[in-house]
Assembly symmetry: C2
Homo-oligomer: 419 residues x 2
């Protein structure tokens, strides 16, 4: 990235845990902290997940420190079991010994007393196991725990190092506290991000527009996901860079079906519009089985505009709760524009919502036919006096088809609302 | 891991892409290939995600190769844009030049012709951009594309290296082809895995049981997620190791509420039981907003036993479609055992399902009161002649509370079915 003036701070993340590597647990910490660091203007240069193995974890910490990031965030390996190696490996990577930290010990004792009392355990039996959580690299500071295990704050050259337990809500809460301190200390720069979101065309149609514009003052990224193409422009605030970014945004708007230039996702746009206009929404879901409802209710406060709806996975539910005529189901099949329309209208009638979205499709991997292949999805949106429908043909596996379907439904609602 | 005889093969994964580091896209490739490698008896030692930066990507490849894994899988960076650096960085890490690979070129040309025709693009305009996808490290082989970009197959010492595009369905399909070849070549060992799943207690109650048993022939892992504790024992097949694993499993069954010792998840157990008994299930969801239905319909063929249900996010839908008495809603509130029971019974009546699960709770972050704090969830399960309810108090953020609620509902169904 060629930017005049201040260099963007960099960050690296190390996550420790066999369960993150063998498919048992989906990492959320790496994703969370990367997104937060990015939003604060840090460039995340690596996220490295390693097995609970002292040698590999120490090597991972050394690899990450070798890039001399401004911040190194470590997640996991601070529990009570023999798998929990973070403090020891960090001490080794820093070339210091482990030592019991009095303040950390007091925190652990207090938390273990509370857990023991809540779970009716014998404190004297569980405390010896928990006590090792107070062993920190010599010279390190302690980050107060959100659960039982305290975190570690250390330093290596320019790099500020923080280690938190891997339990997501502990990790997130403890990072939030540290990030607020770093922010107050002025670590994060004055960075601007412009995000352009496109729906309806692929990367091959968007990339040439970006490549055709001057962007030497911008860090650019383009990616495809959930059926959308997202272009991200990041720059240290300044007139020249802002002008360059503005020109790129305009070129994209002129050449591609851009639906957002202010950072808002399709979920944000739909939620904001429903709330602003005092409209309610309902769903009628076949192949998505509830995922669209789950997505609409992801955000706090969604009860202001989401009424609910019907998961009509079986045709009997389409006919019963949504009043889709059985003759229509027989004539056109459950995966058809006609049924999608009837489902949307039925959901609106059944719930009294102002708008209703319906999804019916072949998510696969089985059930496809030459006329209705896997990936074929009909989406409908009903509002008073009008029902619109679109047909999607989505590539990918079952989970991808289902996720793309929810995205397509949200875009149809956006278009129906005239946005 | 102390194992007699054959050493377990190891694997490392490198993922390239700014979008994976700044929160725009959730990685699925690392998770997918790690799980698959683990299931095949490989020990995944690291998953390293790096920015689209030539220096960092080359360093990441060198770090991963330094551990001398048997397999190195690389995802992303094989597209057509200036961000796509994998071939060049791999060439640099291997100390060879880039060269246009004739077979790869033919594959790219064929695929671009197909895309251009489908999307009504001018082939001669898009082909020059796509052509760079045929540049591979000298001496490397090509993996046929699942989309447009071919993959790379290379070798460094003991390490077999494979690079695939980052688009998940392309990555997954191309890895599946390579894995089948490696399997046929005998790379994967005869490894046994025993997985013990516990619901209802925490890690602090499970870890001491494991620690109290001899397990020097086993690779052990313990982790907490979705409200469950999972213990995983892995070993190279042999009588002594199998006996040790058997003894650990028995000790866990004796000392903790174990619900699975055969690898099946709660989702598997519920799905298998419903299918085997010819039972159908419906849902009534408030705070989960459809996620339980989405989870029940995750697997192909779930239409054999999932009918659907009602997302009763608003009280009006609880009263309307589920026939929850408005007086009950007024008296006990929507988050109450009474309403959970009435929702489950209402869902069964509305859909004709044999079993129905209901969830109502305070997902947060707002809406909590001293009597009904954030994290309080009532779950009910109705079958003919009986409705059972449980009350959960889940820690964590909105997404965690909602996910734990779906897990609790599945366990209540399991218990109701006498499993």
């Amino acid at each position: 990235m060629a930017t005049p003036g201040r260099r963007l701070p960099t960050a690296a993340v190390v996550l420790s845990g066999n369960e993150l590597l063998d498919g048992r647990t989906r990492d959320t910490n790496g994703e969370y902290v990367s997104a937060d660091l990015s939003a604060r203007g840090c460039k995340v240069v690596s996220v490295l997940t390693v097995a609970d193995d002292a040698e590999r974890l120490t090597a991972a910490l050394r690899f990450s420190l070798a890039a001399e990031p401004d911040v190194l965030v470590i997640g996991g390996g601070l529990g009570t079991t023999h798998d929990d190696l973070t403090a020891a490996c960090l001490a080794q990577a820093l070339g210091v010994a482990l030592a019991e930290h009095p303040e950390a010990l007091a925190m652990v004792e207090e938390r273990v007393r509370a857990v023991a009392s809540r779970r009716h355990l014998d404190f004297d039996e569980v405390f010896p196991l928990a006590r090792r959580q107070a062993l920190l690299p010599a010279g390190a500071g302690v980050v107060p725990p959100a659960g039982v295990a305290p975190g570690i704050a250390a330093r290596a050259g320019r790099t500020r190092i923080y280690a938190f337990p891997g339990v997501p809500f502990e990790f997130e809460r403890m990072w939030a506290g540290v990030a607020a301190e770093l922010d107050a200390a002025g670590l994060f720069p004055d960075v601007a991000v412009r995000i352009v979101r496109v729906f309806g065309v692929g990367e091959l149609q968007v990339a040439p527009i970006l490549d055709g514009m001057r962007h030497d003052l911008l860090e650019t990224g383009i990616n495809v996901g959930r059926g959308e193409v997202t272009v991200r422009l990041r720059f240290v605030r300044g007139d020249a860079a802002a002008r360059q970014a503005g020109a790129v945004v305009e070129a994209l708007q002129a050449g591609a079906p851009v639906f957002s230039v202010d950072g808002r996702t399709i979920d944000d746009i739909v939620a904001d519009a429903l709330r602003a206009r005092g409209l309610t929404v309902a769903v009628a879901e076949s192949c998505t089985g509830g995922l669209l409802g789950g997505r609409l209710t992801e955000r706090p406060g969604s009860s202001d505009y989401v009424l609910g709806g019907v998961i009509s996975y079986a045709d009997s539910v389409k006919a019963g709760l949504l009043r889709v005529p059985t003759a229509m189901l027989a004539q056109y099949g459950a995966v058809s524009e006609e049924v999608a329309r009837a489902m949307a209208e039925g959901a609106r009638a059944a719930t009294g919502a102002d708008c209703a979205l319906a999804v019916t499709g072949v998510a696969g991997p089985d059930g496809g036919t030459p006329e209705k292949p896997v990936g074929l999805v009909h989406v409908a949106c009903s509002v008073e006096g009008a029902t619109r429908a679109v047909r999607g043909s989505f590539p990918g596996d079952r989970a991808t088809v289902r996720e793309f379907s929810t995205t397509a439904a949200l875009h149809l609602l956006r278009q129906t609302l005239g946005l």
